[in-house]
């Protein structure tokens, strides 16, 4: 009998708020993050980077650097594998430039030396001759006929003929006849929107410690969202057998998608192989901004038609995403998320992935979705305003729900958008009076969520406690969620469970921690691994009692005979079974290895009040409420934390954060001083409402929550600011000067 612990109510542990298992380490400074590891004989590395946006590399001369005191090795592209193709080639090209530097900050060489200062001094002594090439950093300019070509032949088969070679991928989807739909509308609004690239802004710079011998065996310690991926990529880039490189994930100081990519680890390993010593490589903050993966910048056109009663008759969007000097901007995600909240008869969405001389974009929390929501939800807001409709009622009227057809094709299963809208409407925030100068905005947001390859191993100890090895780094308290779910199945206290993040040699493959998949997929795998162990525990009890295995069931940490026919035996506690497990069949553990494919999507509705100083254009967010569907909140405090964190990042994106490039194609604000992420005094408390519409694809109904929370804020804040200022804001960030300009042109117009 397969054990099935599926349930959506009646939880004992899930839904409680215990202290996180790694709390003590993290408040005492003893938790070891990427840059906190050392090894005997360790060298320090530094990377030489291009100061040019686009330049042919004519010559690299490291003679002077190699002659300096303490310098042990220099690597360039020649020290990496040759003959790579596809994505591995792209990654290598980004990790270490080949014959061309493609963006300001592109790595061209690296040094290992006995001290960090010696390494820093040595890279200054490396001479590089460049031939400067024309560059382009803006998405619309990169698509224009006269734009310099970043790399000929980079486009894939999806791109229609006649587009600039910098357009490398194309997406088009939808259904119905949008022109017919617009003809049915009482009002059609079409508008153009622009967003700047933003960075995930994790506080911990990328860091690693690598050891690689000429025997092809290596050890790597690094902060990453996915160490199996790092293992695979490093092996490919260095020509190693994957299994010979063991990768251990450090504690990770934030990622938000930015640590799904590989940047420095192969460099540290190449230096280590050359110097035959461990090499530590830690990025500076400037390097993080210049040479890791920010989001795409976008240029978008959205057109929506609406009837007087609020019915949307048709919607159309064109989304152009600048993704840096490599293919991969998530134009299809932007397009598919754009109209996902709405039940539309006629819809069409088009996405362009466009290369430019900027760092290769990386995933950032629901990659591509927040920008789409900004454009779409702004137009809906404007329609509501012009037609004098309530913005929540209008969204409810058109909301996607179970059985309606999604804008990207399939029929929706059970989803929770309507529930978030209803909860938002009922929230006191929505009806609270506004002060003069303030405006209120709302927005919906959507993200797909993801499952992915997952392995979990659970081992029982002789005293009836459990150790769980998962393969998804704990970015925000996931050890606690895993322990709670295991407690629920095993029926043993939360405190009796120890969760660790296993290294690549100790557990089967695990996909990167992305797509809000950790609590869903590692959680599901933990539940299944615990069920596997429970089954074995029951079998041991059955053997002891001399009854069939299916006559035993598990409850609250005890094996029990399943009814009078099974015999009258006293319940057998877990510790009694594990105490003798060596003699009754051997150690008991549970496993689960699979690719769970039931990640439920998550919708959210945000409400925000903003106040605009009309003399300076300054905006203050005065009140913020997040309403989101979590399916089932395993540890509600950390779910709230995800909601709040996403909202805060969205506030930064909406108001002040941006990549600023000069005419020379160089990044002008590669530091926290001028890349302005929100500080404590910028923000109000962020209220949260957890909606729970269980996901049928998870035993406890869990939906991923990490990403959706950043989808609505851009639009919600833009709608609030537009209401407060009395003028529609179409470009992010809404920095003060931009708001003043909008106010000026509104006054002129």
């Amino acid at each position: 009998m397969a054990l099935d612990s599926s349930k959506t109510t009646g939880f004992k542990y899930v839904g409680t708020r215990p202290d996180r298992p790694d709390g003590l380490d993290k408040v005492t400074g003893r938790a070891r993050f990427g840059a906190d590891a050392t090894a005997p004989g360790m060298l320090f590395a530094a990377i030489k980077r291009s100061p040019h946006a686009h330049a042919r590399i004519l010559r690299i001369d490291a003679t002077k650097a190699l002659a300096m005191e303490g310098v042990k090795a220099v690597v360039t592209r020649a020290d990496f594998a040759e003959g790579l193709t596809g994505e591995n080639w792209n990654i290598l090209e980004n990790v270490m430039a080949g014959d061309t530097a493609l963006y300001d900050g592109h790595a061209v060489a690296a040094v290992a030396a006995t001290t960090a200062l010696a390494a820093r001094d040595a890279i200054k002594a490396i001479e590089v001759d460049y031939e400067i090439l024309p560059h382009v950093t803006d998405v619309d300019k990169a698509m224009a006929p006269d734009a310099p070509v970043i790399r000929a032949g980079a486009a894939d088969a999806s791109v229609p003929e006649g587009l600039h070679p910098n357009v490398v991928r194309y997406h088009e989807s939808g259904h119905g006849d949008v022109e017919a739909g617009f003809a049915e509308a009482d009002l059609v609004i079409e508008d153009h929107f622009v967003t700047e690239a933003t960075h995930q802004g994790y506080i911990e710079p990328h860091a690693c410690l690598g050891t690689l011998g000429t025997d092809g065996k290596g050890e790597l310690w690094c902060c990453t969202q996915g160490h199996w991926n790092v293992q695979k990529v490093c092996a490919a880039l260095l020509g190693l057998e994957t299994s010979q490189l063991r990768v251990t994930a450090s504690e990770i100081g934030g990622g938000f998608g930015g640590k799904t990519a590989v940047f420095i680890e192969p460099v540290a390993l190449a230096l280590s192989r050359k110097a035959n010593r461990p090499v530590k490589l830690v990025m500076t903050r400037a390097e993080v901004f210049k040479a890791t993966g920010p989001t795409s910048s976008t240029s978008m056109d959205v057109k929506i038609g609406m009837k007087k009663d609020g019915t949307i008759t048709a919607a159309q969007g064109t989304f152009r995403l600048q993704g840096g000097a490599f293919p991969g901007a998530p134009c299809e995600m932007t397009a598919m998320c754009a109209f996902a909240p709405y039940d539309l008869k006629h819809v069409k969405q088009v996405g362009y992935d466009v290369m430019a001389n900027r760092p290769k974009q990386a995933a950032y929390r629901a990659p591509g979705s927040p920008m789409a929501a900004f454009a779409v939800e702004s137009v809906i807001d404007e329609l509501c305003k012009k037609l004098d409709l309530d913005p929540i009622d209008t969204r409810l009227k058109n909301a996607s729900r179970e059985g309606t057809r999604a804008s990207f094709g399939p029929t929706w299963p059970r989803i929770g958008l309507v529930e978030t809208l209803e909860a938002a409407k009922a929230h006191p925030h929505y009806s609270a009076p506004l002060e003069p100068g303030q405006g209120r905005g709302i927005s919906c947001g959507f993200w797909f969520n993801h499952g992915g390859e997952t392995s979990v191993s659970l081992a029982l100890s002789e005293d009836g406690t459990a150790q769980i090895a998962v393969g998804t780094p704990d970015i925000g308290g996931s050890r606690a969620s895993m322990a709670l779910m295991a407690s629920e199945v095993l029926g043993i206290p939360y405190e009796d469970i120890r969760v660790i993040i296993a290294d690549t040699a100790s557990l089967g493959y695990n996909e990167i921690s992305h797509g809000s998949r950790v609590t869903y997929a590692s959680g599901l795998a933990t539940i299944k691994a615990a069920e596997d162990a429970v089954q074995k525990l029951c079998a041991r009890a059955a053997a002891k009692w001399g009854i069939p295995e299916d006559a035993v069931y598990w409850e609250d940490g005890f094996a029990k005979p399943s009814g009078p026919n099974a015999g009258d035996f006293a319940p057998l506690p877990i510790a009694e079974i594990t105490a003798t497990m060596g003699a009754t069949g051997g150690p008991i553990s549970g496993h689960f290895e699979a690719t769970p494919e039931g990640a439920g999507v998550s919708f959210a509705t945000h409400i925000v009040d903003a106040e605009v100083d009309r003399e300076t254009g300054s905006t203050k967010v005065v009140r913020y409420t997040v309403v989101q569907d979590a399916g089932k909140a395993v540890h509600p405090t950390y779910v709230e934390g995800q909601f709040q964190g996403g909202a805060a990042q969205g506030i930064g994106w909406a108001l002040n954060e941006e990549y600023i490039y000069g005419e020379d194609g160089r990044l002008q604000n590669a530091g926290f001083l001028d890349y302005r992420i929100p500080v404590a005094s910028d923000l109000p408390m962020i209220d949260t409402v957890i909606v729970e519409v269980p996901n049928p694809g998870h035993p406890f109904g869990v939906r991923g929550v990490g990403e959706t929370s950043i989808c609505p804020p851009l639009a919600a804040i833009a709608n609030a600011v537009s209401a407060a200022a009395g003028v529609r804001m179409r470009q992010l960030p809404m920095r003060p000067s931009r708001i003043l300009e909008a106010l000026d042109s509104a006054a002129d117009g």
Binding site: A286, L655, N669, D674, R676, V679, S681, P736
Partner: protein, 288 residues
């Protein structure tokens, strides 16, 4: 890099005069260390002046003014209740620089000598009429602080010269000062525009006025005409408009990542009005 910690200003001057290459004085280090980290400047000689006696003192002078040592931190100024009562604008300007952590190290003198056009404390010091004593190989002199910055990152100090103390004039009765800056966030930013105003009044009539602007020109600007515009009248709407117009007319800013010419000029006018109102209220409050 050589690091020195002299015990007297004479030794500091001798070290600075006698060293080759790039020399920097180290007080709070909140600019120098950033420049070193970013490879903007790598000094050959770094002279830490914090071991020199008197550099950490805030001292009331016989005339009622203040002598502020060159290593006095923003946090120490903030905690000095009497100084804050006399010169709230000056203390607030210093307090606006950076974080609590930066306040634990940053100094008025460092902010002045870093010669950033956007330095928050400088317009407040200029408005207050602060002077600096400078010692160097050629002797000692005292100059108004507005004469020290020469342009972004440049000062009028000669090689080997060092500021040994700042002097804040006596507040007297019936005076008030204020400083406001505009930044996109609420903290941690460099001023897009800064404005310091210092007024004295008799009843409702302004008897003395100084206004200085930051981040709108290569150095902080003393708006000389503000004196004429305000003295002899009260701070009514006409006076505020005149002051705002003067502020805008005094701007010679640049377009950069922190703000455009148009935005900076406009905000200078807004801040002039807002800052003057606070200074006026403080002056009248002091006169009660």
């Amino acid at each position: 890099m050589h690091y020195h910690r002299p015990a007297t200003f004479e030794d500091a001057v001798a070290l600075a005069t006698g060293s080759e290459g790039v020399t920097r004085f180290l007080a709070g280090g909140t600019d120098v260390l950033v420049q070193m980290r970013a490879d903007i400047v790598t000094p050959d000689t770094l002279i830490d002046i914090k071991a020199i006696p008197g550099t950490h003192e805030i001292a009331r002078q016989e005339d009622g003014g203040w002598r502020i040592g060159v290593a006095v931190t923003g946090a120490e100024m903030r905690e000095h209740a009497e100084l804050g009562r006399d010169w709230p604008g000056l203390v607030e300007a210093m307090d606006l620089i950076g974080s609590t952590q930066v306040q634990g190290r940053a100094t008025l003198t460092g902010n002045l000598c870093n010669a950033s056009p956007a330095a928050d404390s400088v317009p407040a010091m200029i408005a207050a009429g602060v002077t600096a004593t400078i010692t160097g190989p050629g002797g000692t002199r005292t100059v108004p602080v507005e004469e020290i910055p020469a342009g972004p990152g440049k000062t009028t100090l000669a090689r080997g010269e060092i500021i040994t103390a700042l002097h804040v004039p006596p507040r007297g009765t019936e005076g008030g000062d204020a400083y406001l800056r505009f930044i996109p966030r609420t903290e941690m930013d460099i001023a897009v525009v800064g404005c310091g105003v210092n007024l004295t009044v008799e009843g409702d009539t302004i008897t003395h006025a100084r206004m200085a602007l930051g981040a709108v020109a290569p150095t902080a600007v003393l708006v000389h005409a503000a004196e004429d515009a305000l003295v002899g009248r009260t701070l009514d709407e006409d006076a505020l408009t005149a002051l705002a117009d003067l502020a805008e007319a005094s701007c010679n800013p640049i377009d950069d990542k922190r703000g455009t010419i148009k935005f900076r000029t406009h905000v200078a006018g807004v801040l002039a009005r807002r800052t003057a109102k606070i200074a006026f209220d403080r002056a009248k409050g002091a006169a009660k």
